[in-house]
Symmetry: C2
Subunit: 335 residues, 2 copies
């Protein structure tokens, strides 16, 4: 194992301490275990709170999006493990500003179960919640059982839309419905070239062959659709886009935002080469791109690979996407 | 070789096309070969132009910093290879707005030689230039021969200071002198855990052993100070900071900016764990940190490892560091 860490059991605490040392003027932890991160600035009274939760190992997902115009709070678990229901409830309580809280989560069993419990707990205390689950990974289940799909980089678009809607002082139901509309128009799929190492395990828990690429692999190493001989960048772009387009109705004249998300070890140069082909293929279909996102937005530590996310826009979603946002790891100020 | 690319000989052209497809509203290429990238927006008449140049494979260095408050233009070469003097001259000419051009470069033989030629060429045409070389890597040569040191991630701070000084409409000499002052107060050093692959070569041209870490390795794989058994994050932080502090006078009460720069494959979590220790060590010395930079700023494609850069600030440098900047890959708007 070659990781630049200290004691594996302190991995989460130590990177959280790093975040607090670097960005303590903007975010704070509410617990000594450092699993509940919230904004330091007080939100306007009556703003809908936006919270998320999930395992560590995916920075900037999840806690990198706590900030202005995005999330109010985040509960973080151990690497690839759900945080507890208690910590989730603490986060929700801290992010209720009088108009309820939207809980925005990836569709994973542990996270869902703990979220249900957390919402029950806070509802006893009179806090209204709405839950929206992110299920954007088309490779994780066929269209007929789309409800079983996992949440991957589409989370980031969901945070952006929800955060902007809440900042515009919309109601809890309006924020939840807008976020759901964005997600109904969001699809993702990825490829992986190598595994990643959970610090406490110390070695890769899965394996991608020397000259192979795993198409549709999940961000925790969940098996993909197929193991393929290594592909060119253009083939990767075509494969991912074909699968996404087959799953969502896109027509000439449509406008989309496209995210090329590096999983960790893949150079920015390669992400740009894949973006190039995706943009050309969409151009051929008469589909235009607005505000592309190219970089590392939802990672799996040192995994090599990337994912493509397409968000189909309408005027309302476009306005929310372009609204200002500022967190330590995501900035949008419309330049 | 596992890289998500197409024809290796088209690596640079294709990622440049990706940049133009994604950010063509903000940057443009002046040549069909796509080696000269400049801002699309016209600079104010009389602003000093800031240009740089260097080999590809280090995104966001170099061309990712072309934009508001940073660079006006950049000449890019093949992977790890200097661009030609002709292309550099074309860039300088395009970035003269009447008050001369600062050429800000890493201290590498090929880049320097071509830059000398380029400056001679444009001076014939009446364009005034100043050259400032970045030599921040303390591992690349001892203090007695600091002039031979290579330029690494300190380039980014130099771009920021120069860009802000130019945006404030200072004269060419003033911009060059401020940039030199920043560089006199900048030191960097890195560690590498793995090699990287030049696309046209197709395999790693150097090697880091299975349980080893190379201390002081250059961003093109230049040998470091020592090959060490794998270290903990705290040991990495201590080793790099000790070497940097021994090279630059830092005293209690000083204020610095710190950059923890990922070389490509190292997860953000690990960068934060190293930042944590650097911040604690500086705290112990009574030195405070302003505007930390944690992320990938100057990479070597898929190399695993990181570098630490320390920039000692005074009131003037602090003001320039915090000035607004916006490029596709670097944003600062003082939130």
């Amino acid at each position: 194992m070659k990781k630049i860490i200290n004691e594996p059991g302190r991995f989460v605490e130590e990177f959280m301490e790093g975040i607090l040392l670097a960005y303590g003027d903007r975010v704070q932890c509410l617990d000594p275990e450092k699993r509940v991160l919230v904004r330091k600035q007080t939100a306007p009274k009556g703003k809908v709170g936006i919270v998320t939760a999930g395992g560590s190992g995916h920075l900037p997902v999840f806690l990198g999006y706590v900030g202005e115009g995005l999330l109010d709070g985040c509960t973080v678990g151990n690497v690839f493990a759900s945080p507890s229901a208690n910590k989730m409830a603490d986060t929700i309580k801290a992010c209720d500003f009088g108009s309820g809280v939207l809980c925005l989560f990836g569709n994973y069993g542990g996270d869902r179960m703990n979220l249900e419990l957390a919402c029950e707990t806070v509802e006893f205390e009179g806090i209204k919640t709405r839950k929206v689950l992110v299920k954007d990974d088309v490779a994780s289940s066929p269209k007929e059982s789309a409800d079983k799909r996992r949440g991957v980089a589409g989370l980031v678009y969901a945070y952006k839309i929800a955060g902007a809607a809440a900042a515009a002082m919309k109601s809890l139901d309006a924020v939840a419905d807008l976020t759901q509309k964005a997600l109904d128009n969001t699809r993702s799929m990825g490829v992986a070239l190598s595994a990643c190492i959970v610090p406490e395990v110390g070695k890769a828990t899965f394996h991608v062959g020397e000259n192979q690429i795993e198409v549709g692999m999940g961000i925790h190493g969940e098996p993909g659709i197929e193991v393929h001989e290594m592909m060119s960048a253009d083939q990767v772009a075509q494969t991912l886009l074909d699968k996404i387009v087959a799953d969502m109705p896109l027509a000439k004249g449509d406008e989309v935002s496209v995210m090329i998300n590096g999983l960790g070890a893949t150079p920015l140069e390669e992400l740009l080469i894949v973006y190039r082909k995706v943009a050309l293929l969409l151009q051929d279909k008469g589909i235009s791109i607005y505000m592309p996102h190219i970089g590392e937005f939802a990672t799996s530590m040192e995994m090599a690979g990337l994912s493509l996310t397409v968000l189909k826009l309408d005027a309302e979603l476009k306005e929310l996407l372009r609204a200002p946002a500022s967190t330590p790891f995501y900035t949008n100020h419309n330049k």
